[in-house]
């Protein structure tokens, strides 16, 4: 419980980020609150799992799958609405790592000596982080979508 309370402020910021992303992406107003809820669930799940010792990329994958299931649960039509998913998983993403990688990629061509080594190390580290985070999110989304489809199939059948 203490851990959850410690993680809550950051998760609330991520949830607010998700809700505002939904507005920026022109989502109809009825999807703003579900985006907030899914963003909160996804970040809390990732941080709780990572804090309890799980590898952060596996935690990201599980949190992404959780975001899909949460989206199916809280959206008005119980549908997996893409905009809710994007808003919920973007705060999990490696946006900073992607931009750092792009900046170092531009920098690496114009520096020499120790600065070149420094830029190269930062570039490969950022690329690795961005790649594994995106793969984790994609894997989580796929598992989540498959789980929701299977649940719906069972319900219909």
């Amino acid at each position: 419980m203490e851990l959850m309370l410690a993680l809550l402020p950051n998760a609330l910021c991520a949830a607010g980020t998700a809700a505002m992303l939904a507005v920026v992406f022109t989502a109809p107003p009825r999807y703003v609150l579900p985006s907030f809820a899914c963003g909160l669930a996804a970040l809390l799940a990732r941080d709780l799992l990572a804090a309890s010792g799980m590898n952060v990329h596996w935690a990201t994958a599980v949190a992404s799958a959780g975001a899909v299931i949460a989206a199916a649960a809280v959206t008005p039509e119980h549908a997996v609405v893409p905009v809710v998913l994007i808003a919920a998983v973007l705060p999990l993403g490696a946006a900073v790592a992607v931009f750092t990688a792009m900046i170092e990629l531009l920098r690496v061509s114009s520096v020499e000596g120790a600065a070149l080594v420094d830029a190269s190390v930062k570039l490969s580290a950022s690329l690795g982080k961005a790649f594994t985070t995106f793969v984790a999110i994609a894997l989580g989304l796929q598992i989540g979508v498959a789980a929701v489809r299977a649940a719906r199939h069972e319900q219909d059948g």
Partner: protein
């Protein structure tokens, strides 16, 4: 108008406003169903869509205009598609329905969008271990960039050019604010200032399209356009950092 023509127009409207390839295809099929045509086919790309009937071997091609995001229209397209698929929309009314959807404005006005962008950037800066100074710098820089972007897009500027201009303004504003060294996480704040430019919808639609073999090309085109936007934004950030150094 021919059913194929109306159906293509409906599908293209879905693509132009941020709908997936699957939605465009469902929209296309729903129009044909209401017209009693059951041998139609369509091929979707980000620059053009073509469709026809297998019985006559002819195909029509519709150009796809600038691809933006208006999920209010996408929502209306999905609702009309569902009604048409249940046989509740006569074919004669489709033209008027499509015109009505095409005339719908976005869900939020420009000032709401700018305010949401500011809050988005500030909150994102906080999630990147930023403090309240970072919140304010990121929020101000993002609001300035988004206001310029909305203004430029309203004047029909191409999306990549408007994105680059907005990214440059946001990044320079944030980098200027960071000169005062009041912020605990400078890279996080700088990235938060341009986070609103992340092409989230092309990325996720590209992902969903690419996992369906029929929409592989469409998905690849979407992902390529998303990479272009990310690259332009990163160049703008790198330029701002270089200027401020």
């Amino acid at each position: 108008m021919e059913p194929i023509d109306v159906a293509l127009r409906f599908g293209v409207l879905a693509l132009e406003n941020g709908g997936t390839g699957a939605l465009a295809d469902r929209a296309f099929a729903s129009v044909l169903k209401s017209a009693g045509v059951n041998d139609g086919f369509a091929v979707w790309r980000l620059d053009s869509a073509s469709g026809g009937r297998t019985c006559d071997g002819h195909a029509l091609v519709h150009a796809v205009g600038p691809v933006g995001v208006n999920l209010r229209r996408v929502w209306e397209i999905a609702a009309l598609t569902d009604r048409a698929s249940r046989g509740a929309v006569p074919f004669d009314t489709f033209d008027a329905e499509i015109d009505h959807i095409a005339a719908l404005g976005p869900s939020y006005g420009p000032w709401t969008t700018v305010a949401a962008t500011a809050l988005l950037a500030g909150l994102f800066a906080r999630t990147q271990n930023g403090d309240w100074a970072g919140f304010l710098i990121a929020a101000g820089a993002a609001a300035a960039g988004q206001a310029v972007r909305v203004w430029l897009l309203a004047r029909q500027m191409a999306i990549p050019a408007a994105t680059f201009a907005a990214a440059l303004l946001s990044a320079v504003t944030a980098a200027f604010g960071l000169q005062f060294r009041l912020v605990s996480d400078a890279p996080g704040t700088l990235m938060a200032a341009v986070i609103y430019l992340i092409p989230g919808l092309p990325l996720i639609n590209g992902f969903f399209d690419m996992v369906t073999p029929r929409f592989l090309v469409l998905g690849a085109q979407r992902l390529a356009s998303a990479v272009l936007i990310v690259t332009l934004t990163a160049i703008a950030v790198a330029l701002a950092v270089a200027v401020m150094r």
